[in-house]
Amino acid sequence: MLAEIGATSIDDLFATIPAEYQLKRDLDVPRQHGEQEVIEAFKAYSAQNATGYASFLGAGAYRHYRPVIIDSLSQRGEFLTSYTPYQPEIAQGTLQALFEFQTMICDLTGMEIANASMYDGSTGAAEAVMMAVRVTGRNGAVIARTVHPEYREVLRTYAQHQGIPLTEVDYTGESGRVDLAKLDAAITEDTACVLIQSPNFFGTIEDVAAVAEIVHAKGALLIVSIAEAVSLGIVAPPVEADIVSLEAQSFGVPVGFGGPYCGVIACKEKFLRQMPGRLCGETTDTEGRRGFVLTLSTREQHIRREKATSNICTNQSLVALMVTIFLTVYGKEGIRELAEQNLAKAHYAANTLGANAKLLFNSAPRFNEFVLETKDTTEAVNAGLLKEKIIGGFPLGHHYPELGANASLWCATELTTRVQIDAAAAALKA
């Protein structure tokens, strides 16, 4: 091949790199591993992580059962190793699956349109806020403090250089819901949108209709972020919202130490032109047959460059496929049954664990998470639980200092067993 090129050595091909910047040594990385050695190396990493523990952690990453066919299908090379479907004639598999994904997300969230995915729920929420700023021509955003603390951190990062002032609004001690009076007071004529999460970070289901009434009376948009997607199986969708930012990880995506997950933005159709990210649309080919294409790309960076609605390019397509398969497996009956099981497990866990601790925010409904105030500090309680191979709740004191060092957020899903709940309750009592 070198002869065909007219080169004498491989180094001829790198001659445009100035000699002083050519690397003349081996990179200092581990020597080449055989496949068996790669497997062994990762077995060793894996063994240093928790396995065989009962876990009560949720807080934005939810353990749910993953039907086996999610991986059998999404691991097919035709899905796994395909590219962004810019050549639709040979990418109809990905495109049709995305169209099905968009449809399911619309129906689940109660919105009219949905995009083909965002990176995750945190960046999705930030993009939704920026979208609301473009739609309204106003520039402030009001955020409930019960939105996931890390979502709020990401939003601050995104907003800081766009001149979007952020105001945070507190929750009420009785319900854990956003304080409606304070919310009303916080919204001004410059407020583009209000961002709430439901179920919120405490697991509490917000009164979306009441919030929407306040927000819309001031001419602002309501964005509802949903971190626990399985809740949509039993909790009414936020149809009163203008934009929904969903983290779909609960739909068949491994918790996987925090990613990759699957964000998605859904909204009212009238905001279509301000939607960030890729959109898949239906059309026909030259012979009139139905087919699908990426569409409305004049919103996107590769066409609009600095005037694009977002800089997003790569999204979470394969994860969106996992979500689509998950939702197909469960269907409309299964998603409800699954969510009901979560509700039952969390209800049992809250009452059982709550017998030996104080259960907070009792005056509003919750989904599969709840806040406990234990007699001892969360640190001490969790250290005791670890000895029983139980990972306790997420400590809330850092993000919500007013709740103190004894408050923690617990989660139970269909994977949490009664035995585990009873064992945790016994350990709390001890």
Binding site: P30, F42, Y83, I90, T94, A97, T103, G233, L272, T284
Partner: protein, 515 residues
């Protein structure tokens, strides 16, 4: 096929069932199930009592099918995709290399796939170890001093890097106003600069398609925050005066951001940190073999020099005095978080597996093969297609459709025609500084035999463009569907399925009668 010809053959049987597959909603019938939940081991609850008016009543079009129907549906859809596993994907700038399956296997180990991001650090040492080790190797590969793995994709990495540049300048008392971007850049570059609140100033390329040093010298001033530069450039050429570019910027206090999309041309042969880049992102889904998955997930780590290290997003992985690994959140100068948790961790696992499977010699050989393959294609196709820039190519080569356009055949047509020959199209119409660009990146994964097939195909297409342009202009001819009407899709957007108003829902009974 007519019913007469196939008498005795059931009507549903077709020679190629995968050619006819409706939407999942059209296949749904009420009451079908593909799941069975575990028996509930706690008392059942009444949702309407617990949730009150918040209880859900409507479920829309969620489908109901049996498991085999679901398996067939998605398997059939998959057969409509082209993929690396089926053949070469010569997409310039996308680095469509083989995605090793050992990467997928290790990513599914229980301790890795089921690790919760908030589980105690003492029970996350394996996950932290993966992040720490990958970070060290990427720092070594790039020649940088520090890194964050948090960004979820390349554009997200750009966003992070430019945020850090902004924070750096702010720490010196002036955020500065503009970012210089060559006209050959990826669209994400200007979009990113805008998101971080910078004005975009366009930098014209010189006749060789490279940075024009005189022009750069003229434009860089005290308001310039940085230059965003792809190296090798989007025409696949190494900016051989890169150190001078860095010097010009640094002399005015501006920084050099390197878009690492084309890092597959450099790994093991040269290091951006050595030639003057201050901050750069990597695309793990390009250079480090994590699968593209039809458009994502990606991962866009950002590596930087020590001067930018204080501004990295939180948290970062640190080794404590007792040798254990931990997250450090206490970083007052940080730009903040760009994503919840720690990034697309599953991609870190795969990229680390790739790095281990290659080692220093494999990584270097990978780069050499990628560059060799691109130059082989260039040598074999020069003359068939116009080569707008004669500068030596690295890992990709950019031709143009100038010779074929005379017959009305455009780059997009030839890309479509390439599909008929069993390949994916090359990258069409990018970079924009080349009119009618045809950008080809073979990667190291392709054998000479596969390269020769691609070369034959493109040579044949060049002949067709001269002799039978209509054949090329109406391609592809062999796909399940023909060219799609993208204008209609944009003009009248149909973005979701809706049940036809007149449809009578299929019941198991009526579905059976269809047979």
């Amino acid at each position: 096929m007519s019913d007469e010809k196939f008498i005795g053959t059931p009507r549903k049987a077709t020679t190629h069932t995968s050619q006819n597959e409706g939407l999942i909603f059209e296949k749904s019938s009420p009451g079908k199930k593909a799941y069975r939940l575990s028996e509930l081991d706690v008392p059942a609850v009444d949702a309407s009592v617990l949730l009150g008016k918040s209880v859900r009543k409507e479920y829309g079009a969620l489908p109901e099918l049996s498991e085999i129907e679901i398996v067939r549906h998605f398997t059939r859809l998959s057969t409509w995709n082209y993929a690396i596993d089926l053949g070469m994907f010569p997409l310039g700038s996308c680095t469509m290399k083989y995605n090793g399956r050992v990467n997928e296997a290790v990513a599914r180990f229980e301790g890795i796939a089921e690790a919760h991001p908030y589980q105690p650090e003492s029970l996350s040492q394996g996950a932290l170890g993966i992040m720490h080790d990958l970070s060290q190797y990427l720092i070594e590969i790039t020649g940088m001093d520090a890194i964050t793995l948090q960004p979820a994709a390349g554009a997200h990495g750009e966003f992070t890097g430019i945020l850090m540049i902004r924070a750096y300048h702010e720490s010196k008392g002036n955020a500065r106003k503009k970012i210089l971007i060559p006209d050959s850049a990826h669209g994400t570059n200007p979009a990113t600069a805008a998101v971080v609140g910078y004005q975009v100033q366009n930098l014209k390329s010189n006749a060789e398609g490279m940075v024009d040093l005189a022009e750069l010298e003229k434009l860089v001033d005290e308001d310039t925050a940085a230059l965003m530069l792809t190296n090798p450039s989007t025409i696949g050429v190494f900016e051989s005066e890169i150190h001078k570019i860095a010097d010009i910027l640094h002399a005015k206090g501006a920084l050099l951001y390197m878009d690492g999309a084309n890092m597959n041309a450099l790994v093991g042969k040269t290091r951006p940190g050595d030639f003057g880049a201050d901050v750069m992102h990597l695309n793990l889904h390009k250079t480090f073999s994590t699968p593209h998955g039809g458009g994502g997930p990606g991962s866009g780590p950002v590596a930087c020099k020590a001067i930018l290290e204080p501004f990295l997003p939180t948290p970062i992985v640190v080794r404590k005095a007792d040798k254990s690994l931990a997250f450090d959140y206490d970083r007052p100068l940080s730009v903040g978080r760009v994503r919840m948790f720690y990034g697309n961790f599953g991609m870190f696992v795969r990229a680390l597996a790739y790095t281990l499977a290659n080692g220093p010699d494999g990584l270097r050989l990978t780069t050499e093969d990628a560059v060799l393959n691109a130059n082989y294609i260039r040598a074999k196709l020069e003359g068939y297609f116009e080569l707008p820039f004669k500068t030596p190519s690295m890992h990709e080569v950019v031709f143009s459709d100038k010779l074929q356009a005379k017959n009305g055949v455009k780059t997009g047509d030839m890309g479509k025609r390439l599909i008929d020959y069993g390949f994916h199209a090359y990258t069409v119409s990018f970079p924009m500084i080349v009119s009618g660009a045809m950008m080809i990146e073979p990667t190291e994964s392709e054998s000479r035999e596969e390269l020769d097939l691609l070369i034959d195909a493109l040579q044949q297409i060049a002949r067709e463009a001269a002799e039978n342009p209509e054949l090329v202009k109406t391609a592809p001819h062999t796909t399940r569907i023909r060219r799609l009407n993208e204008t209609a899709a944009a003009r009248n957007p149909v973005l979701r399925w809706k049940a036809p108003p007149s449809s009578i829902p299929l019941t198991p009974d009526s579905a059976a009668k269809e047979w």
